[in-house]
């Protein structure tokens, strides 16, 4: 039974990372109807920036905060420079721009920091003052920090002027424009926030999967699966979906024969099944499209 709880708690920890990345994906999806295929690579790049701060001798928390802030600015700039020109272009063009972005970030990261695997320190103390056989100190920190991030984002979108304006811009761009919201800048802000949240995901997962330019491709697939399972129209749902996927992934790996080798196939299966049978996801709204 201990094994079961260990698996579940570790699943919640890794699921927290998926939740962060899924949240980033959904934030952009809500505002612009895009799936950002480069979200994983953006998070990877942010983590490497934190790594660079560390090599300059910065303390790990400062490195993380610095990288998250830089990612926010970079996300904003990416939206302004790269994404804005294809805002009204056909879907294919937008997907290709994301793929281009993915190629650039992946290869530039490999060029600057090389494709070797590097260790990355945990943000959290190795000892929280109590000891548990069920969950490691890093995992406790990951779950706790993710919950704080989720709460902060909820409060931001619920109670601040900017958060409300961003929701308005996403929900009804025309009306938002009429009441004086700069929709275009709200989109850029959404990209910045998504990049920041993604960066948190990257920094939290790096001590577990180690740091290399390809570290996020699996994580991004799980995050997509989580976002779809929870519902792409609901940030809360996407975060829950990420957590559920993390736990399921561990259970399948342990209890289903061959499961540990087919974890990515499992994520693919979840994506296809959700899209086929419940495209709105568990917590999502069914969107009716008028033709």
């Amino acid at each position: 039974m201990d094994l079961f709880f260990q698996l579940t708690l570790a699943g919640l920890a890794i699921g927290s990372v998926y939740a962060c990345v899924a949240l980033a994906v959904v934030m952009i999806y809500q505002a612009t109807d895009h799936f950002n295929f480069a979200q994983g690579e953006m998070a990877m790049f942010s983590t490497f920036i934190a790594f660079t701060f560390l090599t300059f001798g910065a303390p790990v928390w400062l490195a993380a905060v610095g990288a998250i802030a830089l990612s926010f600015i970079a996300g904003l700039i990416i939206e302004r420079v790269v994404i804005k020109p294809v805002e009204n272009a056909p879907v294919l063009n937008q997907i290709i721009v994301f793929i281009g972005l993915l190629m650039i970030l992946n290869n530039v990261a490999g060029w600057i920091w090389e494709f070797t695997i590097k260790p990355f320190p945990s943000l959290f103390p190795a000892d929280w003052g109590f000891h548990s056989d069920l969950i490691g100190p890093h995992h406790i920190g990951v779950i706790g920090l993710t919950l704080i991030v989720l709460l902060a984002i909820y409060l931001f979108f619920r109670f601040t002027r900017v958060g409300l304006a961003m929701r308005a811009a996403a929900a009804n761009p025309d009306s938002a424009r009429l009441v004086g919201v700069s929709v275009s800048w709200m989109l850029a802000l959404g990209w910045g926030l998504a990049a920041g949240v993604g960066a948190i995901g990257g920094i939290l997962v790096a001590p577990i999967v180690y740091l290399d330019p390809n570290m996020m491709s699996g994580v991004l697939l799980y995050a997509f699966a989580g976002a779809l399972l929870g519902g792409v129209s609901s940030p809360f749902g996407a975060a829950m979906g990420g957590l559920i996927i993390g736990v399921l992934e561990n259970w399948v790996g342990q209890y289903v024969p061959g499961g540990s080798e087919l974890k990515l196939t499992f994520a693919l299966a979840i994506i296809v099944i959700v899209l086929l049978f419940k495209p709105a996801g568990i917590f999502g709204r069914v969107v009716v499209k008028r033709v």
Binding site: V91, I95, I96, I99, L221, L262, L264, V272, L275, V291
Partner: protein, 328 residues
């Protein structure tokens, strides 16, 4: 320019001249260049498949590496375990990847645009892991992969590379002609009608599910044939060779060549094989230039901004412009 061209004398002469040039080319260049050209054609065949699917039918795939792998492994397994010859094995690879594509197209039917891209993205990311899976190891060779000998020359006096080049050329030309015929048939018009307006297409009595899944199957089949040719020239298949970036290369080649075109696939194949070498040479001299694929990422985005019709679309526009000027 969303429809394929009619046959004009100029187009026919150009086509025959291009084929003629391709036939004598291996005798003008080194064996290694011939080998590279064969690789370019195997990519090109896969890109032709993606052009049919995305350019003419409007379905997205960023997972064509999976079908490329299906063809490569299909051929390798038939040679290794069933003792088939390399050319029959191409047919097996084609059939295998058609079925795989058709079956994946079934659930994909219900997925529109972005979601289909997402599902195929998942397929591409999961492919290497599936190929390594223990239960299939007796067939796929697991992490080790399978060694595939280069087919012996068909004619005396040709090297193995030249022989394979001619096989690839014959297949490529054949598939391009077939594609042209399909696109000019009733089925082809149905494919394009679905791309342009699915609801109107359905109203016209087009069987949407059938046309879409069949197109997916054909597209996967082309990718599979490309994969088989790729395997013969590289003499080896292994799981990690078919990662997500293979799907990206296919997409990049299609877009740069011109995704709504047939001949664009040739340019796409040549681009993917030769440009990295050129770019590498440049970045070896000027070390501040980032590595080739990062530069191509930038290039890809610029192509989408300014010339989304790609190289062949550009040639067509140039030809039309010259014609207008000549007419006064």
């Amino acid at each position: 320019m969303t429809r394929p061209n009619r046959i004009t004398p100029a187009l026919l002469i150009g086509f025959l001249a291009a084929v003629g040039f391709a036939v004598i080319l291996p005798h003008l260049v080194s064996n290694f260049t011939t080998y590279q050209l064969t690789l370019a054609m195997s990519w090109g065949v896969a890109m032709l498949g993606l052009n049919v699917l995305t350019g003419y039918n409007g379905q997205f795939s960023i997972g064509h590496s999976a079908f490329f792998a299906a063809g490569a492994y299909g051929a390798a397994i038939m040679i290794e375990h069933a003792g088939w010859g390399p050319y029959e094995a191409i047919a097996a690879a084609a059939g295998f990847s058609f079925i795989f594509g058709f079956l994946f197209g079934l659930p994909a039917l219900r997925l529109e645009g972005l979601y289909l891209a997402l599902a195929t993205f998942g397929l591409a990311v999961a492919t290497p892991q599936l190929l390594k899976f223990d239960a299939f190891e007796d067939w796929t060779g697991g992490v080790q992969g399978i060694f595939v000998p280069k087919p012996a020359p068909l004619l005396e006096g040709l090297s193995a590379d030249q022989s394979l080049y001619y096989v690839a050329l014959a297949i490529m030309v054949f598939l391009m002609v077939i594609t042209w015929c399909i696109l000019h048939s009733r089925s082809g018009r149905a494919m394009m009608a679905i791309r342009d307006n699915p609801i109107a297409a359905r109203t016209m009595g087009i069987n949407l599910p059938l046309v879409k899944t069949t197109t997916f199957g054909i597209s996967a089949m082309f990718a599979g044939i490309g994969g088989a040719l790729f395997t013969y020239s590289s003499e080896f298949v292994s799981p990690d060779a078919f990662n997500f970036f293979i799907a990206v290369y296919i997409l990049v080649g299609s877009v740069i060549g011109g995704i709504v075109s047939i001949p664009g696939a040739i340019f796409g194949g040549l681009f993917v094989v030769f440009m990295p070498h050129v770019a590498e040479d440049v970045s070896n001299i000027y070390t501040f230039i980032p590595p080739p694929w990062a530069v191509f990422g930038v290039f890809l985005i610029l192509v989408i901004y300014f010339v989304p019709f790609g190289i062949w679309g550009g040639i067509e526009r140039l030809a039309a412009w010259t014609k207008r000027k000549m007419a006064g």
